[in-house]
Symmetry: D2
Subunit: 320 residues, 4 copies
């Protein structure tokens, strides 16, 4: 991961901000745009009633696709049929028995929503709260406001990989604003204000189909959007509340534009309060959309309400 | 918790079963009833676009309402602003910093769905799979089929506490089939086949408002439904796919009818494959329904895809 | 827990310090006193070769005696005979099978050594290192120097409870310097310079024999030593390297002298670098010493080498 | 890891057993040999009072040397100076502040003792207890008897790597009984009955010095002892209570003699009840012994008392 010496602060000096738009105490950000009208717009886009769940499996024996450095999860049974068989536990009563378990995981180790305060610079998180509020738990801009509000609206899939004629984008490949618009056009669909974008790179399928070595080899650099003033201005003007992808970080790991790491977490998450829904399984939805040419749907997702969490796991529901 | 000597096997000897209804290999159970028609029926019940999320907060400092014996969760930051301030971590590049965390929790320690194999008797889980399949992980009837399918359909709130004129039902108070039907009638709503029931007891608010002592004092015995042949027959005939409550176990802890513990986990979960969505926060939804008299809505919930899990946390979305 | 307005800083203004005694970079503190001569002195006190292990059981079903607020441990099997029986795992080869497990615990949740940096005031830990070095891990004065050095020397049991004619000291009961000296005298033993003190209150047996309610009821206030200028001066002059008790904090929770919490963690741990070995099981050792009147022995303890730990579990060995 | 079709049961058909030697209910095994005489023999071997602690660091950022498949540990601060600085916690009183932490780890993920029941075949663990006793926790032959007894006696270092003129033995290299005896002879020391053996391969230093790739590359196959009838007979006749090495499994991963995995866990741990102390850091001790030619010492180790544990972490103390 290479980075030059320009600070993100300088890069984003002129970039738009939504701080104060929803009040000085707001911690919800662009998800504020998802009002009842947007929910109804999402409802209206439902046609056949086919349901897709976008969550990835958690705690697979083969491992989960985590950001380098994050822990793999541990899932452990605390009791099961064996416990009764060997007499260590008596049935609940009348012969009823049950299995139980615990899990230990990185909160962001699977399909998730970031909290708006998850990433920051210049000692300020979204809406100007002091970054010290992140110490020992997210006192401001945790995942809670998003988890309590829910993220419900009209979703639109932009299958960039398919548009570019590939099974999956290459490592580090850029998706430009033009790519998004061209993909929509080719799909015969129009991105509308306040849409929830789902952008497919196909990258996650490399992990599941080719294995963890192929996914992590060399310098870790995911394909995806990255910072340009035009892209950020477009997100701002289009009032995009949230977007999801099938990558871990929703953007190029190292921006081919700025040469720095993850600038959109600065420009979109921190400055505009756009919600990031990462590590989605989009393959089944994308195949279905390619078949029936319907690329819009109800998107209904609510991450877990982890108190003071920097994010939370989620299993988003898409209804076509 | 008192229990007599009758086995659940004997009690449920004549009770209906859905084993084989969806094939010998089925692990999804009554959620199979939630086909596209049901999804559209749920969509059709949306009126204003108001959203409610039913999940409870996870890892509160004051503690979470867990079943006696289950662990309280542990939420720990792995890095935050403090880590950068004291120089232990260098920013990502260009000055970008982030917070991260892990969680350790009982899989069923908060708002959740049970796996169909979570509880069994006579060495068989739902659909007759051997209970040995639960050893060291749920090989059959884990939460995965439910998590992958999603639980989407028309939901209906039956606010039994309000119907009975109470803030919350008393400890161990029974809800009969008659109570359910009378509540619906008083609410001016009809329970229809394949509805997803949400039953409010108000019991969970005792934990949050009065504290953990009030909730756990004496013998632990939650209010709720319990086994009668009529109730189970009704669930069977009405093809109820899933039901949720604001209690930990969705039924009386010790049945005032059978004198045994949790018989509905045998009669409904195991035998009919009905999904149990437990520990929901229903207070806000119930207040809203009391105000506008709309008791039906789209219910869209997808628990996390915990591989071989006995259940999984979920934050259900309700759209009125 | 009541506390008045005096700062610990003021209380300990004139109290002795060992900062700089072993150099500006020292993180080992008074355990530095345990040189080869002390080890040999410990060896020389061995008479019969009888061994006692002072560790408490970890992860008992009934719970462990943790400081209020710390987590109870979770011990989970990851595989066992059941996993093989149901075919989920194949034997290692040639029919060999094995059981394995994980543990989740508060590092200080059982018999332990504190790191010298575990507690501080005025933003400085032992030897003047900035308290910021504790952020996200103990960069200075972690448990590592103690764990690597080992704590080996002549130990001496001061069975204050027995001296005072009680099964256990009362909640919040004080042990004065005079009590220590009188106990030694009654035991016919002389406390010598650089002895490792083991002080028995009997308090921990309340937890194991009477249960957790008896142990935690009311305001939590353990019996034990507390701050007086004389006691601290004596620890300083006697060059006590370490001391252990059968309480969680090794001192009165709220000092009956200063009215503040845990002043000896300031005066002894932070200022003198004396090692604290807490939550020891002393009942068996004490009974044996009462029988044969031998109160001195080899004490050999080495806490786990938890990198950047605020302390670590230990199972101390005593050889009489 | 290759293995042929012979069962360990057949291989060890004629091998000696200690079952019943210390009674039908014994769970302590050969550590029973470490009576007071042995403790005194250990005491008598102390010369200079120099102390070595053999534990490895736990939860290093760079990772710990765990058996393939076991989890890496997670060490997390629950509070530190940062928590006070940002006002999220008030000092204990009078200005006292403290840091605290938790750890999540494989019980056998660092320097440890195996429980005697950790590995078995033919559905029986040490002393003939049914392997079902391992389900959901070690009901028999857990680490507790060893942890309570302590492992104290005369220790002897056999620095096989140095004897063979290597920095470390090669991957999969065998240590024969002849190697042990020749090493002792070259060191000018005699192995005596009931000695606790410490055998150095140098293998662990490959992990710490060359990194995890060098340690794990290719088929995992540690150097070490392996099964021959002569070696096992010698352990039996010499009444060896325990032995430790600087490898994870204390023996060749795949035996070059039997072609099966870990046969000595069958022949020594299960059949003779010999205690296995694995993953020791022996480099510093070995260097010291090479310098002063003293290869015998007091060995005093007590693993943590993890209830029903398959083993427990330990930081053994060696006193020369």
């Amino acid at each position: 991961m290479s980075a030059n010496n320009i600070s993100i602060s300088q890069i984003l000096k002129e970039a738009p901000k939504n701080w104060g738009r929803w009040g000085a105490e707001d911690e919800l950000g662009a998800v504020n745009y998802l009002d009842q009208i947007q929910v109804l717009r999402g409802i209206a886009s439902v046609q056949s009633g086919r349901v897709f769940t976008l969550g990835c499996p958690i705690a697979r024996k083969e491992g989960d696709p985590v950001w380098p450095g994050r822990s793999q999860p541990g899932h452990h049974m605390t009791q099961d049929h064996g416990t009764y068989c060997c007499g260590k536990l008596q049935p609940l009563g009348a012969g009823l028995e049950y299995a139980d378990d615990v899990i230990y995981m990185a909160v962001q180790g699977s399909t998730q929503f970031d909290a708006l305060g998850h990433v920051w610079y210049d000692d300020q998180v979204y809406n100007g709260f002091d970054a010290n509020t992140t110490i020992d738990g997210m006192e401001k801009c945790s995942i809670m406001p998003i988890a309590e509000h829910g993220v419900v609206g009209r979703g639109i899939l932009l299958d960039v990989a398919r548009f570019k004629g590939k099974k999956n984008l290459d490592k580090g490949e850029e998706i430009t604003l033009e790519d998004l618009l061209a993909t929509a056009k080719a799909q015969g669909v129009t991105i509308e204000k306040r849409d929830i974008l789902l952008i497919r790179t196909g990258w996650l399928s490399v992990f599941y189909n080719q294995g963890s070595s192929a996914f992590y080899e060399g310098d870790f650099n995911e394909p995806g959007l990255t910072y340009t003033p035009e892209l950020v201005q477009w997100f701002y003007d289009m009032e995009i509340p949230a977007f999801g992808t099938d990558t871990i970080a929703n953007e190029q790991t190292v921006s081919c534009r700025t040469g720095t790491a993850l600038p959109l977490h600065g420009a979109l998450l921190r400055n505009l309060g756009v919600s990031f829904n990462e590590i989605n399984w989009l393959e089944d939805l994308a195949e279905d959309c390619a078949n029936d040419n319907q690329y819009t749907f109800l998107y209904a997702a609510a991450p877990l309400k982890i108190v003071q969490g920097t994010g939370a796991p989620v299993n988003p529901v898409v209804i076509k």
